[in-house]
């Protein structure tokens, strides 16, 4: 693809993540512009379109098929990802697909096969943590070898609330999916065995959703990962990770916020949600996608193989939620 500015269409542009991507394309990403949007909620679609001077499309199909759209961002709800990605692939349009690639292993496989049939790399997955400067530095320190081999990882993923109909399984497919991917990426190997254990649930848990959960995953070489997945953390949004190596450990920093000393207390603000925590990562993943499409970098971002691998681990974790035992990934 040549040097021209890409016209991007965003599906699900009215939701939180859709608005973030639309905003970043319209105002930050170099080499791309927001050309078109679609959302089931027409009012929200109109609002976003007007704000950034984009077209509103009548349907996802119309957006994907439009000659005014060079490439597509899928930011609609999780259950639609696989079908829409396949539609983009079949239309020959490059697509940036929010995680997860699919909510089941079978659906994920269908997308992988569609891309293989197309004969070229067309999909980047929204595993934005790979573009977070802190995770990148963490991986550089790990890969330098100065601290020896990794042995364990302690991860925490806390989000203040989730939709009312969010299920016990969605703690895996919607939240822990990020730890699945980032641990595969950090360690450079596959996760092979998994388990889930339920603590008592918080008083803020909704309906039958068990919250929090302790997710355990072990890699090929034996690195053991524990993840606290909290969907109703109340106090704030927080993503933590400590890699325990033979000669030392590496921890994600907490966000830099002004330190305030007030009445008998010294502290700093905690972000309320992900928008504040991963600003740069969300910008960089889209910039990378556009740079890749425009030939400015040869290294592709996370693709369908990563999306599929994450789904296979997710499936094993959902089985483990039911069995209470360790489950083999892909088993």
């Amino acid at each position: 693809m040549d040097n021209k500015e890409l016209a991007i269409g965003v599906l699900g542009a009215g939701g939180n993540i859709g608005q973030t991507h639309s905003h970043n394309i319209a105002t930050y990403v170099d080499g791309a512009r927001l050309a078109a949007v679609y959302d089931l909620n027409t009012d929200r679609a109109n609002e976003v379109a007007q704000r950034y001077g984009a077209q509103v499309m009548d349907s996802a199909e119309a957006l994907i098929g439009s000659p005014d759209v060079d490439a597509v961002v899928i930011a609609s709800w999780d259950g639609t990802h696989a079908a829409l990605a396949t539609a983009c692939i079949e239309a020959g349009k490059p697509v940036f697909c929010e995680k997860p690639l699919a909510t089941t292993q079978a659906d994920a496989k269908a997308v992988v096969e569609a891309e293989q049939a197309a004969g070229k790399r067309l999909v980047q997955l929204g595993f934005m943590r790979r573009f977070d400067p802190d995770y990148i530095k963490m991986k550089q320190i790990l890969d330098s070898g100065e601290l020896g081999a990794p042995l364990m990882a302690h991860c925490i993923s806390r989000t203040r609330s989730h939709p009312k109909d969010h299920t016990t399984a969605q703690h895996i497919t919607n939240i822990a999916i990020h730890e699945i991917d980032i641990c595969r990426w950090l360690l450079g190997e596959e996760l092979t065995e998994v388990a889930v254990r339920f603590p008592r649930s918080t008083c803020f848990a909704e309906g039958t959703c068990k919250d929090p959960q302790l997710v355990l995953m072990q890699s090929e070489s034996g690195v053991l990962i524990d993840v606290e997945v909290s969907g109703n953390s109340y106090y704030g949004y927080e993503i933590l990770c400590e890699l325990v190596c033979e000669k030392g450990t590496i921890r994600l920093p907490v966000a830099a916020e002004p330190i305030v000393r007030s009445y008998l207390r010294c502290g700093q603000a905690i972000p309320a949600d992900w928008t504040a925590r991963f600003v740069t990562a969300y910008q960089q993943e889209l910039q990378h996608w556009v740079d890749y499409l425009r030939g400015k970098t040869a290294a592709p971002g996370p693709g369908t193989a990563d999306g599929y691998a994450a789904c296979v681990v997710s499936d094993a974790l959902i089985r483990a939620q039911g069995s209470g035992a360790w489950e083999k990934v892909g088993g």
Copy 2:
């Protein structure tokens, strides 16, 4: 007991922990003095005795039976604790016994029964973390209720090295025993189910000892505790703990050390071992013991019931090391 200064005898006075206790009695503890010491290693016993002006005894029995000794500290190796504590009880001497009370549940039970037969509280266990100012403040915040009920605890226990013959089971009886006790104390309830999972071992692991280990414990009300137990952490000694509650979390602070900015790096020292980390806790537990014996406080420290409970959890964890499954405590 009246107001007079107590004459203390220390068994195993030549080892690391024995020297710490001897030093604290001789120089810090108010209302007590170091009267006598014994150690299998006579040279070391002589050295300690000379340093603080104490008598050297010919045997543990001699020290326990001596009319010059009002109360006894047991700081010898783990396998001797139960028998020596029983001997003290039978001699009617108050005893401060280093953790663990015993290396098996059965041995612990024997001490409990000896104390019951004596008809009075004679034993304080060396669970010094209950006297650490940081853990005390943590419990105060938890008990205030402002953060809601506890749901999970993330603990880390890292020690730089252990004796060559240290076994996989000793990660439980010698190291994790502290987390067993402190979690019982923090939560105010019993631990009922446990599991252990082994990551790949560090290159520093000795012999057949699996190191590190991930210890999981769950309390009556469902609080789920994960503990990284590292016996060859190389980089330093570190005890961490985060209590995750419904409305927030509480974390142990890292030790306050001067912050040094040097070539492209900002940081602070990490203690090499426990002596630096728990200075105050080791002083306070002995001060409390002496105060209790002298009637200056009515609240006893941790006793045989706590030592026994910890042994019961230990036994279940050792079973879990073998089975790879969740084991019921006491089951």
Copy 3:
């Protein structure tokens, strides 16, 4: 100005700051492109031009006058700023001028007058700290009034090295100028009295330049500011600031970097220079400039009045370096 993309020309594009601005315009700033560059060092100018597909101009005058250039960035050495800014104003071209506006109060005044003669706002000054998220949050907390009125500010500006011919006065005009501006902006008032005191100089000080220096400034309402200005800090680049208010204090955070535990030490990297510290601020100031020129925001960035005010304070500080006494600003 309408919605079209602005063609930007950069003067001094081959230097550190020039390359940063060129890179940001070419790859980050939305609504602008790097059209042309000029640098005394032709090799460097060619390099930058080639990297981003820009034209190389034969002279500063050619760049300013070119019909292919809509707006100009001045990133050449301090002594050229005033004359080049005036040339841009006279050509009716909007200009982004690196700080300082001028190296003397008299030269600064000439630019102010040229802009007044032009009858419209044409200059934004490169006081990028006003666009740093940390300083912005600090100001929000201060302005909320929850901590009461400001009383003092403790500032530190450390840079690892400076050019060999850097003078004692340039600690003011080139380094402390940032604190002059950011304190005016944070406090919302003018600085009226100043002093400088010299500690013993570091062994790394070059020639006759006194380094470090303690700069003192007092505002209209009496807020007293102390600034450590270190030009050879060796260990790293660091900008710190604590605002002391009646009921509490606000401190800039240190940059968030992964926390590494290694042999007996816990720490994190310190940036080697400003490029890592103020990445976002440098992007945002140019984005703001372009947004303002394109009518997307009505709020102008720092202008000639700010540049002039900073020069007046600088002049007083240079007088104070000589006199050793408190000097009135503008006096």
Copy 4:
């Protein structure tokens, strides 16, 4: 002096600092006991005496002269220190005297001369920061030479409130006196020139007392020290210090307190006053004094020479408060 336990008498035992010293002698200090107390406020004296089983004396003279008192602690108000210390010296009794030694240089000189006339070291001054583990480590790092020579020190001394009749000068004699001593001790050299500058005063300032103040001091070798002295800091008690050296800096840590994440905020408690901050230092200074008197250490603590030197610097600072200019110490 031989090995026997010392009988200590405390003057001013009913005040804050007197109660702290009485408590430490009665319960912590090894080799000493609280024998007698005196306070103008008889009720308070009785209370302390009863709590620790000590005698109440009818007057300071009676306490100093009593054969039941081996050594004396002076914890009465600042204006009485010099006369009481002289009385102890003349009675041949070792004395631990709270800072300051005197409120004027002349009075301090009289004590120095009394001790010289007695022909032996009889006085330890209450500069407890020299016994604070953090300052001790700071000095060790400085003295190691790894960071090169010291150039500057940034100090902060904040206390939440002071007595209503506290004067502008008492910010020096009662508060900054600690920084005067600790900087002399850290740097190992005298302070030779000083200045004071007044920011606008806080709304919490009482009467005519100017608060806060910026104290500047320069050492023989040119190290420049700035000290924020706040007597109404409202938010908490805090002592900070950063030593700026040629190759790096050393900072006092903030106290280790549990880190609490609660609603959108992460933070830790700040001590309300000095009792929590310097617990160990207050214990160690008395332990050291007793150890020295009992021949267990040959190194004396801070003495009259240190007390006098601090008074000389204080006098210069009070002159500087009036003149607004730099003043020579001793000049």
